[in-house]
């Protein structure tokens, strides 16, 4: 059976070059980077080099990069760390309704802890406008955390303008760029961003490692306690091989972005067009301001998991919502925030394309989806009720 992977937003296969870079640190270079001896110095050097690569990829300096165990921890550190670092007594945090749970739930937790929180609504495309952010900022605001690009519907948010507003108002701006890095061009040096989260496994690097960019002079405090690693901001023996892999993956990710965008968006648009030819299918997310690999559609009258399951039987791997919530039964909080009816939100599929997809796969997938939809609609009580 064909195996077609179209879930690159959930995670990506690692590039062979990345594994090559990691292997020495899974074998003979095993020293603890905090150790002063030879074994430690050689891994310390690798750690420093990886930090330089990540910094270079973002257009910032190595001292501004803190390695974490992934995008989730980076978001937690950014949001809780800023909250802990504030000494002014201010306590208002702004985020959006379409954030990944790693940001949204962290903000909500701070809400339970007595912080004032504002969760901004989004438009029908899942986008927060800069004006909304501007209006929400008060003299108590310490942090705005709004993602760069949405992991479910692929919409790209106006992070630059939002950052500019935060800068003007003297408020920290954090952006969850987990889905953006390596997929859209990015130079932090030119952008008014104070903190940025990334996760290696979303751009052909290893799982279990990420980074938080913290602009110089941004006051952040650690949220986990232990040794003095990562400038005391993130204790624990460094996940060295993964960090080296992250460094290499970043180097590769930022190369040839325009070409990658061009290739992917061509596939994406072909898939979108084909899907929209099926009756009662709507595209979710912004039609243009959208990640080059993301296709998210609602297929009326049928439910997402059964769609996914039937496609899986045909060898096609897609997602109904984000991976980490697809085990749960609730319809996507992102689609609901965009105003979709819960029943329609539930009949949604995300195809996220990546490096190895081909036109043939797109065409095979389109046929498969058509078949699956037909089959499931034949079982659906709705189609008769509604049409």
């Amino acid at each position: 059976m064909k195996k077609i992977y179209m879930d690159y937003s959930a995670t990506t296969p690692m590039r062979e070059e990345v594994l090559e870079a990691m292997l020495p640190y899974l074998r003979e270079r095993y020293g603890n980077p905090s150790s002063l001896h030879l074994f430690g110095r050689e891994t310390r050097k690798a750690l420093d080099e990886a930090r330089e690569k990540v910094a270079a990829g973002l257009g910032v300096t190595p001292e501004e990069i803190i390695f974490t165990s992934g995008g989730t921890e980076a978001n937690n550190l950014a949001i809780m760390g800023v909250a802990r670092g504030i000494s002014s007594g201010k306590n208002h945090i702004i985020t959006s309704a379409v954030e990944h749970h790693a940001a949204l739930d962290t903000v909500k937790f701070l809400g339970e802890r007595g912080y004032k929180i504002t969760i901004l609504p989004v438009d029908e495309y899942g986008i927060v406008s800069p004006q909304q952010v501007k209006d929400a900022i008060t003299d108590q605001t310490i942090l705005v955390s709004i993602m760069t690009a949405n992991n479910e519907v692929g919409s790209i948010l106006p992070f630059e303008e939002i950052g500019r507003i935060c800068r003007e108002k003297g408020v920290y701006y954090h952006t969850d760029a987990v889905q953006a890095i390596g997929h859209i061009p990015f130079n932090l040096h030119e952008q008014p961003v104070d903190l940025l989260s990334l996760s290696a496994h979303k751009f052909y690097g290893p799982k279990g490692v990420g980074a938080l960019y913290i602009r110089r002079k941004t006051r952040v405090k650690q949220i986990l306690f232990g040794g003095g690693q990562e400038r005391k901001l993130r204790p624990g023996t460094e996940n060295l091989s993964a960090i080296v892999g992250l460094g290499r993956a970043m180097e590769l990710a930022v190369a040839h972005i325009p070409e990658k965008i061009e290739k992917l968006s061509r596939l994406r648009d072909r898939l979108i067009q084909g899907l929209l030819q099926i009756e009662d299918v709507r595209l979710n997310g912004h039609p243009e301001k959208r990640l080059p690999g993301n296709v998210n559609v609602s297929i009326f009258f049928v439910e997402g998991e059964s769609l996914l399951l039937d496609l899986d039987l045909k060898g096609i791997a897609v997602s109904s919502g984000s991976a980490c919530t697809s085990g749960s039964l609730d319809p996507s909080h992102v689609l609901l925030a965009m105003g979709l009816d819960p029943q329609i939100a539930q009949g949604s599929l995300r195809f996220s394309l990546g490096a190895e997809n081909t036109i043939e796969e797109i065409d095979y997938t389109l046929e498969a989806v058509q078949e699956t939809v037909q089959k499931l609609r034949a079982m659906s009580p709705f189609i008769r009720n509604i049409c």
């Binding site: 009258f301 049928v302 439910e303 997402g304 998991e305 059964s306 399951l309 039937d310 039987l313 085990g327 749960s328 039964l329 609730d330 319809p331 819960p342 029943q343 539930q346 034949a378 079982m379 659906s380 009580p381 709705f382 008769r384």
Partner: protein, 121 residues
């Protein structure tokens, strides 16, 4: 996630479809998870001669509906009323924990269909 038996019912659901002039129709829906099941029965001499289902829902919901229709066909109404959602799950060889309560409602739909039949008789 699902065992083979569940997957078989999902892939080859038995007794899918609407029914002309059913003796009774039962529909259950769980707003929280959005699964909806509709069961049609044809009753003769207190025996379920035919049964059909339509389901909007996840794999577990579809498989439960399908399995139930097989379990019930040819049974008396009294026998059919004894069947619980748990029996359906057991017949399927088990369902994942989070699916047990939301997507395993076929027996409820059947009972409603029987009630519908009895009420309108």
């Amino acid at each position: 996630m699902y065992n083979e038996k569940v997957m078989d019912h999902f892939q080859n659901p038995r007794n899918v479809g609407e029914m002309d002039n059913p003796s009774g129709v039962g529909e259950v829906g769980n707003m929280r998870c959005g699964d909806i099941m509709k069961i049609y029965i044809k009753v003769e001499n207190d025996i379920i001669q035919d049964i059909k289902f339509l389901t909007f829902g996840c794999g577990a919901a579809i498989a439960s509906s399908s399995a139930l229709t097989e379990m019930v066909k040819g049974k008396t109404l009294e026998e059919a009323l004894q069947i619980t959602n748990k029996d359906v799950a057991n017949e399927l060889g088990g369902l994942p924990e989070p699916k047990l309560h939301c997507s395993n409602l076929a027996a409820d739909a059947l009972h409603k269909a029987i009630l519908d039949f009895q009420t309108n008789k």
